[in-house]
Symmetry: C2
Subunit: 311 residues, 2 copies
């Protein structure tokens, strides 16, 4: 339901309506968009936003990157259950009623959704003059054709997919460390892994998957069920210099791996045989470790200190 009260609401609605014809839903709109799904599969809903990274996006007016961040934070989590996103609601927060900014955000979101066949079915724009930055909260629904458990298996190889830098987590720490210093790293968008993951799942037998966001490498613990994950940094994926800089400026080894993706935005596991094929064919994917018998621990050979970090 999309009934903005802004004076430029017709422009907002025109952008939104461009997303209403998709293979997955039929949307009939008189005053309000009525959604009829063209499938009857189980669904999953996911909600996320961009957090305090939005302070930098607002300052630098990097609105498209903000939209990509918000989409990535949702789509990469939907990837964990191989869900195909088909609709979303958005809640845009801005610190002032800046129609150029709001329309740029809505337009970028509409364009990305058109590309991905995601219908925008609801939304709200909230002007909150007490905020320092912007946020884009998305609630995305996806349907699931094929539900499988998400779990690492003993003997699996762990594969990492290169990140695009900081992504959308750890910005409270970043602001603490850098203060008023700005770096272009702070507005680079989060990589969207969903398409790669859905493609890989068609060809390979993927066992466990995790999007490396808030909590970073500690998130792997939920996939272990008794096994240990061992990760090292002797692989082809070069982390961005920003991670070494954060460590040099005082973020401790363990804190780095529980706060930042450290160059790896997504981790998944397959048999060793399949892992070698994948690693050989995808330049941004490398074998970064293995799953062994153990005690539900994540053990990382730190690229910062050379020491072991354990969660």
């Amino acid at each position: 339901m999309y009934n903005p009260t802004k004076p430029y609401k017709d422009q907002i609605l025109a952008e939104i309506k461009k997303t209403w014809q998709t293979p997955y839903v039929s949307i009939k709109a008189d005053i309000y968009p009525i959604v009829k799904a063209k499938f009857s599969l189980p669904e999953i809903d996911h909600t996320d936003g961009i957090g305090t990274k939005g302070i930098y996006h607002w300052q630098k007016r990097t609105f498209r990157n903000a939209v990509l961040d918000a989409l990535a934070m949702n789509l990469n989590d939907l990837a964990l259950v191989r869900a195909v996103p088909y609709k979303l609601s958005n809640h845009i927060f801005v610190p002032k009623d800046d129609n150029v900014a709001i329309l740029a955000i809505v337009r970028a979101l509409s364009q990305e959704c058109q590309k991905r066949k995601i219908a925008i079915t609801g939304g709200e724009t909230s002007v909150q003059n007490n905020m320092a930055g912007m946020d884009i909260s998305l609630s995305v629904s996806g349907f699931i054709k094929d539900l499988k458990p998400n779990q690492f298996k003993v003997g699996d190889a762990l594969l990492g997919i290169k990140s695009n830098g900081l992504h959308s987590n750890g910005f409270t720490k970043v602001r603490e460390i850098f203060g008023s210093v700005y770096k272009p790293d702070f507005v680079k968008p989060t990589a969207i892994y969903l398409d790669t993951i859905l493609a890989l799942n068609k060809k390979f037998n993927i066992h466990g998957m995790m999007h490396i966001t808030g909590g970073a490498f500690t998130k792997l613990k939920s996939l272990l069920r008794g096994a240990d994950a061992r990760i090292n940094w002797a692989h082809k994926l070069k982390p961005q210099p920003i991670f070494k800089e954060l460590h040099q400026r005082g973020v401790l080894d363990k804190e780095m791996y529980q706060t930042f993706n450290c160059g790896i935005g997504f981790i998944f596991s397959t048999s060793e045989r399949e892992a070698k094929i994948i690693s050989a064919h995808w330049p941004d994917i490398a074998i970064i470790g293995k799953v062994v018998r153990g005690n539900s621990r994540v053990i990382i050979d730190s690229m910062f200190s050379g020491c072991e970090v354990e969660f």
Copy 2:
């Protein structure tokens, strides 16, 4: 999908899971909640939050009222299409990681959802230390059994339902007028009209309906299609003193009616005959005007000045 990374995530999840058994959906959860709808009706999605009213809720820790506000802002809009809400995703924004506050919010939301048979299918808690207050963004999905146009008809009586005070709009204005002065009016929750509206729709032929929120009485324009709405204040619903006070402190007549509900939180229209029955039986509902041939105008006899206000 609900995968909080907070240390007290088990407590959050325990509250959320209490909402997963409903007549409308079956939710299977291993790691992630997979939702299967028990109906195949058209749906509508709506997203809204509480805006800068959240500054007062955070200061006064009126978390249950904040939850009621967020629910009301969504459910009262779903009422316009007679939708039955059956699931929601939430995005809670707080200025610091206060686990007592977050759990109180999640618990209040879970309790209200259990009462209303709404499953909580996704959510996120975002700590943003640059915010002055809290916000609760909800994305609610409802199903629609019976889709009818939402439109006033010439000859209709207009009925108003009493508001509970300021509700969740106009708080940027409230803060501008009152500065650091606090009044208990600022944290009273928004009335939820959905149940009344669904009950009335079963017995009466309701033509047009509007939730009086941002844009206030100007929102009626979208239901007019050529007719005029004439509203007067010679009725039994007594507006709260806060509205007169806002006017006395300098908010102009016209601004009052385009910013605040002025004591009427929901307006709907029926035939005059049905309106008299409804007004006689419901103490909080009164006939407040009529729909006449005209020129798509909303004309109000102002209770503040006695003059006519026109939109």
